[in-house]
Subunit: 303 residues, 2 copies
């Protein structure tokens, strides 16, 4: 398998944007009428979840390079929810999307190895990349990198998250640097273990769009690290806030949007235009986001 | 439902020890002959995994208060592995064991809420407690505590882990205190949100047995926090190293042992005594561990 960063950048060049659609099927936010199509005797909620996730993927696949599955919203429904996750991830792969499993897994030694094999090897889940939590240090990250290297996959450690309380621990200053920059230093070190033809690493970094100053600073620390950037849209980050993440060719980052796309039909502007046709609202929201990013040079200029 | 800490301590008093058996069914370490019982057409590896986990639980249930499921070793086998996890957790609950889901989940807001509902509510997984990673701060922990409070369940944030590289980030010193003690301060604060009749909180802490000085120090910081202590046995922690975790009544901690019990049959002493009967090796390892802890006042004196 070709190196993860090269495959990712091929996909971004091909689609002309760095939009990452977050598949976060939240209970109680399904489009009106969707649940009615799935009565309890046909599997009810989980059947609706599965159908919704699959339809979203079909709608966005022609436009975007990558999708990110938020595992929590599937795990919430027990083994059936997880089977829906598994099948939907396989469907996204078949449509040539880069598939990121957002599970923020973390453990040590053989346990980390088990997670890495679970999500990155072709046998069980076969995502292209996984998000991981760095709190346990290198013991918790290196097993993921090992499998990623072997399989042409990627690993995204959390560095600076997009939520308000991120600062409680991530901003604590030790030896003159906040914790998240110590994590970034380790990411730079880990990143050297697997570099693609384009110079980017298989080890990425999750960096929130809600802290633009930190984003620019981290890009300076990590010039060849693929960034996964949550926080655009619903969490308050704008396209201008994330432009610093991209290199001259518009590569190096993926900008995640979950709620702003999946539930676009809830926004007055789309509702007015498309009425109950939530599928069209999703499509238009993806097109609009790509144009917004291009206008701010947050990604390739070709969008 | 009665408060988690009270239910936990009832179970520890009833069984007379604080042994937590870690259900970590590792590939390639199954007892000899087990896999032969499950040919490929009967589900093969996952059927063996399911049978092994269930048999271990049946063997240890009369002796110990609690079991901890390491999710990675089930997730590794895709949806079938997860169904085995689900059914085995339900089996452990039926045997009146305290069931801890060791998934180290972490996310924010509605996503953390989805994880909390998934694992702590009665509908999907219904564990008695879950391990969580604190890197994202309060936004990532409070949703778990909310559900735990409502359902009589527990939440164990990682504070100081048992692995060698734990020190890379957890020992960074900010404002005169290492990161893990900043986390401990937050655990103390979060812990006030749900206190049981016995004075202990529903918010616990994962603290490795491999750092006895830190363990004693953290017990002083967190006098009424239930500790989950990994690192006994295979990772090098001894019963003397964990005694500081317990109060005068022998309450306040659970000492995890996974490999040392599940694969006791690999140890020469048990192999000599029980030959290929791995079930007896497991039983004896649990009895021996309880006696070792009692001899060092690591838990109730009645064992």
């Amino acid at each position: 398998m070709r190196h993860f960063a090269d495959r990712l950048h091929d996909a971004i060049r091909r689609k002309g944007n760095a939009v990452l659609v977050g598949i976060d099927p939240r209970p109680k936010q399904f489009p009106p009428g969707l649940l009615d199509r799935f009565p309890a005797d046909s599997g009810g909620y989980v059947a609706a979840l599965r159908a919704f996730a699959r339809e979203v993927i079909d709608i966005v696949a022609p436009f975007v390079p990558a999708v990110k599955f938020q595992s929590a919203f599937f795990e919430q429904h027990g083994p059936d929810g997880i089977e829906a996750l598994h099948d939907t991830m396989a469907h996204a792969r078949q449509l040539d999307l880069i598939v990121i499993f957002d599970g923020k897994r973390n453990d040590i030694g053989p346990t980390a190895e088990a997670y890495a094999e679970a999500y990155l090897e072709p046998s069980a889940w076969s995502a292209d990349a996984i998000t991981v939590n760095p709190y346990l240090g290198s013991d918790g990250i290196l097993p993921f990198i090992e499998v990623a290297k072997r399989e042409g996959k990627g690993v995204y450690p959390l560095v600076r998250t997009s939520n308000p309380s991120a600062r409680e621990f991530q901003d604590l200053v030790a030896d003159g640097l906040p914790l998240y920059r110590h994590v970034a230093r380790k990411v730079a070190e880990w990143g050297k273990l697997s570099v693609g033809e384009g110079g980017y690493s298989a080890v990425g970094a999750v960096v929130g769009a809600t802290y633009p100053a930190e984003l620019a600073e981290l890009r300076a620390d990590l010039p060849k690290t693929p960034f996964l950037i949550p926080g655009y849209g619903a969490q308050g980050g704008g396209a201008g806030d994330v432009a610093a993440a991209f290199d001259a060719e518009g590569l190096g980052g993926l900008i995640n949007n979950s709620r702003g796309i999946l539930y676009a039909y809830e926004k007055p502007a789309y509702r007015e235009r498309f009425g109950p046709v939530w599928e069209r609202a999703i499509e238009q929201a993806v097109i609009d986001m790509a144009a917004d990013l291009a206008a701010h040079k947050a990604g390739p200029a070709s969008a």
